[in-house]
């Protein structure tokens, strides 16, 4: 048994000998430390990667503040130890503990994992193991914590179904309270774990996989998911806030440097652009904006609460925020003399964006980033992201002219229907941009081209599409690597093998739980880290269970095929996704739905919520 005191003592003797020990002690400004016995519910939030990456995570920040507002609950945090620390913890029998009180995770009532992407899955297993909690939901007994998980990857919960007691689908701000309330009642009434899980399933937005059985066709494709009894629903609709809650303002301020040391201010949720590859754009509908006044006062408060010198205004598409002009003006007016760096990512490719950025440009300046994704008109129509090459060149010229020396462009290869000519177009366009830059500001002009590889994601119009075979990806990358070099040009690309894994996991079924477990047992962890990712371990794990990553990643799917995630409803209907996929094959654009609703399904599935929130800040039409 490890008490908090024993953990502290052991930490004292190992921390001086691990890298960056400041990761493992907590002590941030704004961290909340409550007396353990003064509250009824003890919640631990885990970001399944190292502290440096996890600390700034906005989702964790929001829930941490939300839960700690309750007088009857405490919320603490844990992150994954880096390899050297993990080794030291295992050798000294230190279980995974919370940073605030150094309490072993196994003593909490509820543990929430955030799953923003699939390559964190093995880290979840590692966290459970380090915490001494049985890996499988089925092996946990009464006194084990309830393990929940949410985040973008949870929209297809099946691959992690064996390990998670309940998935939270959608936004967590409201439902987390319902979960805590429910667990408190269960504790009071001495409800069994099995009964508790059943009542969790009854909460809207929750999915308890152990209450459902999947079945498969003889060819291995998914057939259907059947609830164990009729009382469980056959589908789970995501949760979201009809009106955005006020943004968090008590951001944690760590005592060591982490990836983002800043106030993350969300100005809008959702996106109406309808890019067909974009998971975030589909699952986060509808668009809801935060009013300018709310944002300004939240920034004011957060500055006073944190002392941060950097603010990021976050959304999926900043230019689309209705009041972007007045927001930027107001921010400039209010905060210009405070030595602040303010970033506004995700801007549209147009000169107005350069104007906005110029206003925000403080004393310190970073690069300017744009994401055209595709370079040929044909591909732009397919992915539904129309941009004129002339407009990109004009914007680039403007950017260089107004004092930015480095422009970053993001492209994505491997989108459905792409040919080598389309890839060549990326090279040509990039070269044209750097030529433009050199014409404008001479040798100071730099261009970074980030080339990612398309991964078909569930709940998007491209959920039927195939991942490009490895050889094709390599060929496309090589073409770009050959051509995108020379003075001022720099290109980065993603590891194609990691892409295969991501693609297999993101459209996986429940059989992948075994693969994930085997891979983890054979040493896979930190799969999102280039230097840690081990493709062979994964290939062996698939093989050990007679499965193949290609089956999930690149097998062509018919329009009728049932998907393991069909029971999860994002509100964007399968019918709509299908229509969009077919339009993509035809090369037909679909307009931004701000200019006219395309009936994606949100207002059908959530008509009551819309009626209850008739606000103009929710950008869909009203319903009667």
């Amino acid at each position: 048994m490890n008490s908090n005191q024993q953990i502290k003592k052991k930490l004292n003797s190992i921390l001086p000998f691990v890298q960056k020990p400041g990761r493992y002690v907590g002590g941030e400004y704004n961290r909340v430390k409550k007396d353990w016995d003064s509250v009824r519910s003890h919640v631990a939030l885990v970001f399944p990667d190292i502290y440096d990456l996890g600390l700034p995570n906005l989702g964790v920040m929001i829930l941490y503040e939300e839960i700690n507002k309750r007088p009857d609950a405490l919320c603490e945090r844990a992150y994954l130890p880096w390899l050297d620390m993990e080794k030291a913890m295992r050798e000294n029998e230190i279980p995974l503990y919370s940073l605030e009180s150094k309490t072993p995770l196994s003593q909490f009532d509820l543990i929430g994992f955030t799953l923003p992407y699939e390559t964190l899955y093995t880290n979840v297993l590692n966290a459970l193991d380090l915490a001494g909690i049985p890996l499988h939901a089925s092996e946990r007994v009464e006194n084990h914590p309830i393990i929940i998980a949410g985040g973008h990857a949870a929209y297809n919960p099946e691959p992690m179904a064996s390990f998670i007691d309940a998935f939270v689908i959608g936004e967590g701000e409201e439902v987390i309270h319902e979960i805590i309330d429910l667990l408190q009642r269960a504790k009071e009434h001495g409800t069994t774990r099995a009964e508790t899980l059943q009542s969790l399933q009854a909460l809207p937005g929750l999915y308890v996989p152990s209450l459902y059985n999947p079945s498969y066709h003889p060819d291995g494709t998914f057939e259907s998911l059947t609830p164990l009894t009729k009382e469980f629903p056959t589908s789970v609709s995501k949760r979201f806030c009809g009106t955005l809650p006020p943004p968090p303002t008590r951001f944690l301020v760590p005592s060591i440097d982490v990836v983002h040391n800043r106030i993350a201010m969300e100005i809008m949720r959702g996106c109406t652009r309808g890019c067909r590859f974009c998971h975030a754009g589909m699952v986060n509908r509808p668009v809801r904006e935060q009013p300018v006044a709310t944002i300004i006062s939240a920034i004011e408060e957060a500055l006073a609460n944190t002392g941060y010198e950097e603010i990021a205004l976050l959304s999926l598409s900043s230019s689309d925020y209705t009041q972007i002009g007045s927001l930027v003006d107001e921010i400039t007016r209010r905060f210009k003399d405070r030595n602040l760096t303010i970033s506004l990512p995700s801007l549209r490719i147009e000169s107005f964006s350069v104007e906005l950025m110029e206003k925000l440009k403080g004393v310190r300046q970073g690069g300017f980033t744009l994401a055209p994704e595709a370079a040929s008109d044909r591909m732009r129509n397919r992915i539904n992201k129309p941009i004129q090459a002339e407009q990109l060149l004009a914007t680039a010229r403007e950017i260089y002219l107004r004092g930015w020396n480095t422009l970053k462009l993001y492209f994505m290869i491997g989108q459905p229907g792409e040919t080598m000519e389309d890839v060549q177009a990326i090279a040509d366009l990039s070269k044209a941009v750097i030529v433009e830059g050199r014409k404008t500001i001479g040798k100071r002009a730099n261009l970074h081209v980030g080339v990612s590889t398309f991964v078909p994601k569930p709940h998007t119009p491209f959920q039927w599409a195939s991942l490009d075979p490895l050889a094709v990806v390599l060929e496309k990358q090589n073409l770009l690597k050959d051509q995108l070099r020379g003075p001022g040009l720099k290109m980065t690309w993603s590891n194609p093998r990691e892409t295969i894994l991501e693609a297999a996991l993101s459209r996986g079924d429940r059989n992948l739980s075994k693969v994930i477990e085997t891979a983890w047992r054979n040493g896979a962890k930190f799969d999102a880290w280039q230097d840690q990712f081990n493709f062979n371990i994964w290939m062996d794990a698939f093989e050990a269970h007679h499965l193949s990553p290609d089956f999930y990643a690149s097998r062509p799917r018919s329009m009728e095929e049932a998907f393991p995630w069909d029971h999860i409803h994002t509100g964007v209907a399968r019918k709509f996704l299908q229509r969009e996929y077919l339009r993509s094959l035809e090369g037909t654009l679909t307009d931004d739905c701000r200019d006219g609703c395309h009936a994606c399904g949100i207002l059908t599935e959530f008509s009551d919520l819309r009626r209850a929130n008739p606000s103009e800040l929710w950008l869909c039409p009203e319903v009667n």
Binding site: G27, E28, L303, N305, Y308, N339, V363
Partner: protein
């Protein structure tokens, strides 16, 4: 513009926050306190905050110092009340002083520093006293640090075992810009493993 000196302690929570990170910690502390620190001019304005003497990673301190330049005329009581609620966990300020802005930079005023070493009672060498005596008896103690040879002996101003608790040892080491003694080096000379000790800086001694 006024120059303020803080005397503070740095506790367990900040043991593993290095010097560079501490500068950020202080900058943010002053910002959330609403105290207007003077920034340097130029492309990358830096806050004017000067620490007396870097504290090695893993040490705590009961007596650290920094000077900062304030762009306002608040009195010490006002400064204190603003700062108290903004301090990073682990920091306790013991004293606020107004110092003449024209005196030499704080780091150049440091003469020496005192340290308290707590040795793990389980690994406390029985012959520690004689090891200390032997070290002090030497007229020189040549060592190498980061490839540079130097003499540790003249940097040791005092070194003794606590008479009430033999697992505690205190030392005073020179800490002038050109001649800084390090407790780890002394411990190594005494053949005490860093794994078995906790080190606390108890005092910084300034000239004047």
């Amino acid at each position: 513009m006024q120059r303020i000196r803080l005397i503070y302690s740095k506790g367990d929570e900040l043991k593993f926050t290095g010097n560079l990170d501490m500068m950020k910690v202080w900058e943010r502390t002053f910002r959330r306190a609403g105290l207007r620190i003077v920034y340097s001019q130029g492309f990358h304005p830096q806050p004017k905050i000067h620490q007396a003497l870097p504290l090695p990673l893993g040490f705590t301190s009961e007596h650290d110092m920094l000077d900062f330049w304030l762009d306002s005329e608040e009195n010490l009581a006002q400064i204190q009340s603003k700062l108290e609620k903004a301090l990073q966990p682990g920091i306790t300020v013991q004293e606020y002083q107004i110092v003449p802005p024209e005196i030499k930079p704080l780091q150049t005023l440091v003469l020496s520093a005192m340290y308290l070493i707590q040795i793990d009672p389980a690994n406390d060498p029985p012959d520690l006293a004689s090891r200390i005596e032997a070290l002090l008896d030497q007229s020189e103690c040549l060592r190498e640090r980061r490839g540079k040879p130097y003499d540790l002996r003249p940097l040791i101003e005092s070194l003794e075992i606590n008479c009430e608790d033999p697992t505690k040892m205190s030392m005073t080491l020179a800490a002038r810009p050109s001649a800084t003694g390090r407790p780890e080096e002394v411990l190594d000379e005494l053949e005490i493993s860093l794994q078995d000790v906790e080190i606390k800086r108890t005092r910084i001694i300034l000239s004047e």
